[in-house]
């Protein structure tokens, strides 16, 4: 369905990534946010607090990220599309509730504007060091979707995608910015509402007597009940059966948890987004994401001008990881170069999928600034030899 015009600021704007995320959320139909300030993400909710009273909805600043990350889920069950934003230390605090969202299949969006870590780290400077945490940070087996924009325009577009995927797959979806993408100002084009596709909440059409709140459809995702309509839904973080009732038997655990993984992994074809360029005939492919992909592009251009056959693979969906694509590329090239603003996170996935078919080289960085293109170029040249 089309976006609600109330939330769409159609036009050509000059916005930074944080602000563009907020506009994306509003365009996607988000009408509730519970936030807690943390650099460099705060601007997202500051703008939301500013905009939402004239769009129609609620912003509340909660007392901490523990509250923010669960208040938004209460709002989701109350009927709203809802999100929160944070950075490393706050993200760590949100982990229990990310698991709760996964277990209760609550559609919601978390925006993480990554900064230097660990701990308080570098509050105002970039890193990409939460990439494994977003996948594995909460306890237990569960699957998430994580998207990596590399420009303010993508912050707008992918935030809408995040909300749509959250509704479609009933899971928490993450938009993984970094401080540079969050604070860089670029042109952002916001189309008219009838050109923005928005996924409606998959409310059930069955009456209360027939509806089972956690009975999956063919796509492995259950429909949602409306609260306040007599469905008497029970939502719990305990392992539960199709009625939502707690059930401690291993057979129920097996069925439920496997489905939570399958509903993402089996639908990966629709979820995995990426950008490729000149993969055919390449000797080396550079695999990158977020702000690093912008620097990597410069390094790729420099290498190509020296006659190296370099391809580009830009990860847009980091989770579920583009396993098929990387495995296929690894079979055709000499080496994969993985620059990232951390000391080795997504490179592990690349190595796993390459399965030894190609050399995999990390161009790591502890964080605090972006790579120099020359650092990436040097490794490209080394492996191309």
């Amino acid at each position: 369905m089309h976006a609600d015009p109330a939330g769409v600021m159609t036009g050509t704007h000059f916005l930074d990534g944080d602000h563009a995320c907020c506009e994306g959320a509003l365009a996607a139909g988000a009408r509730f946010s519970s936030g807690y300030p943390i650099t460099p993400s705060t601007e997202v909710v500051e703008r939301f607090a500013n905009r939402i009273p004239t769009v129609g909805g609620t912003f509340i600043q909660m007392e901490d990220e523990l509250a923010a990350s669960i208040t938004l889920q209460g709002a989701v069950w109350g009927g709203a599309k809802a999100f929160t934003v944070t950075s490393g230390p706050g993200f760590s605090l949100m982990m229990e509730h990310i698991g709760y969202a996964a277990m209760t299949e609550t559609p919601c969006v978390f925006i993480d504007v990554q900064r230097g870590g660990p701990s308080t780290g570098l509050p105002t400077l970039p890193a990409q060091a939460d990439m494994m945490q977003v996948r594995w940070g909460s306890h237990g087996d569960y699957a998430v979707i994580a998207l990596c924009p590399n420009s303010p325009q993508e912050c707008f577009d992918l935030t809408i995608t995040a909300f749509n995927m959250a509704e479609k797959y009933r899971c928490p979806v993450f938009v993984m910015l970094d401080e540079v993408v969050g604070h860089m100002t670029e042109k952002v084009v916001i189309p008219p509402p009838d050109q923005i596709e928005v996924e409606p909440r998959r409310y059930t059409t069955l009456p209360p007597q027939e509806f089972l709140a956690f009975q999956p459809g063919e796509d492995l995702v259950p429909d949602m009940p409306r609260v306040g309509e007599g469905y008497n839904v029970h939502v719990t973080g305990l392992t539960h059966d199709e009625r939502g009732y707690p059930d401690m038997r291993p057979v129920v655990q097996d069925k439920l948890v496997k489905r939570l993984l399958d509903k993402i992994n089996k639908n990966a074809g629709d979820i995995v987004l990426y950008e490729e360029d000149q993969i055919e005939g390449a000797d080396v492919v550079v695999v990158s994401y977020g702000i690093t992909s912008r620097v990597a592009q410069r390094a790729i251009d420099m290498a190509r001008s020296r006659g190296v056959k370099v391809g580009k693979f830009r990860i847009i969906t980091a989770w579920p990881f583009p396993e098929k694509q990387i495995a296929e590329i690894a079979g055709k090239v000499k080496a994969l170069v993985v620059p990232e603003l951390n000391l080795g996170q997504m490179v592990r996935e690349v190595e796993r999928c390459a399965a030894g078919k190609a050399v995999v080289r990390l161009v790591g960085h502890a964080g605090g600034s972006v790579h120099k293109p020359e650092d990436i170029l040097q490794v490209i040249l080394e492996v191309a030899r």
Partner: protein, 291 residues
């Protein structure tokens, strides 16, 4: 064989229970089930719109109440029932939102959220079953456990001073504060009924036996002994200053309605401020529902 069947009346409480999940997990002599009877009767007597009533629990023995009540029910994470309830209420203000949870869940891990919700005067109704212990996990010390009792984490006796819950909640800003015990079934039902009609952050503490852990480890008898103890030492003092209602190991239990005042609720404050600032541009929504 006669076709006429004897029409047996049903327990009016059962309409609010998920009967397919009864019997429940609570121990013999536990007061949680007793409080649920009062809750059910309060829902009936208040003539509350049950469809628009939602219950939110945390983790613990009392946290299991959400699973047994036949309402839109949410069994959330430890200590976070109140922020979840806040989100539910703000997104859909026509819901009656009740938080039903235990003393450990609401006042230890959840303490921060409780005081902020009271400060904001969020329109939610909090029923706190206080059994003076962390029961579900096997009887550890809670912030309400009196001094000089044995718990599993204070095997030589507790020495943590305990919270005075009504005092704390009043200071944080609650507009309705009462305490009853599981013995006071009718007064409790009436207090809950009163609370449902109140606008703003409302709180009832309900003292309950935990015969399996608290009472047994301290040789205080069983659930019935504790209920008789409540009957014996409770004193109804409506309007008592909350600073004077602290509990001790075997001292007087002051019960009654302590606070009943008026304060603008959070939804109202938010609305008024935004309407003042934005005038016609302010878009009020009945609730934030998406399609």
């Amino acid at each position: 064989m006669s076709e006429a069947t004897v029409q047996l009346p049903t327990n009016p409480v059962e309409q609010f229970l998920r009967m397919d999940r009864i019997p429940h997990i609570w121990c013999p002599g536990c007061g949680i089930g007793t409080s649920v009877n009062s809750f059910a009767h309060a829902l009936i007597d208040a003539k509350i719109d049950v469809k628009n009533t939602a219950i939110v629990s945390g983790i613990g023995c009392t946290g299991r109440v959400a699973g047994y009540t036949n309402l839109d029910s949410f069994h959330t994470t430890h200590g976070r029932a109140i922020p979840f309830a806040t989100g539910l209420k703000l997104a859909n203000p026509k819901l009656n939102v009740v938080v039903y949870s235990g003393d450990g869940d609401l006042f230890a891990i959840g303490g921060n959220h409780l005081i902020h919700a009271a400060r904001r005067n969020v329109d939610i109704k909090v029923i706190c079953i206080n059994n003076l212990i962390y029961a579900m996990t096997g009887g550890q010390t809670a912030p309400t456990t009196p001094g000089s009792v044995i718990t599993s984490t204070n095997p030589y006796g507790t020495y943590d001073p305990a919270f005075n819950l009504p005092y704390l909640v009043e200071a944080a800003g609650a507009v309705y504060v009462a305490r009853w015990t599981a013995f006071h079934v009718r007064q409790l039902a009436r207090a809950m009924q009163e609370m449902f009609a109140k606008k703003g952050f409302s709180f009832i503490e309900v003292l309950s036996p935990c015969p399996t852990l608290y009472q047994r480890r301290n040789k205080m008898g069983d659930g019935l002994d504790t209920m008789k103890f409540y009957k014996q030492v409770s004193k109804v003092r409506n309007g008592a200053p909350t600073s004077e209602v602290a509990l001790s190991r075997s001292g007087e239990i002051v019960v009654g309605k302590f606070v009943d005042r008026e304060r603008a609720d959070y939804g109202g404050l938010m609305h008024d401020t935004l309407a003042d600032a934005l005038g016609d541009e302010y878009v009020e929504t009945e609730c934030c529902t998406c399609q």
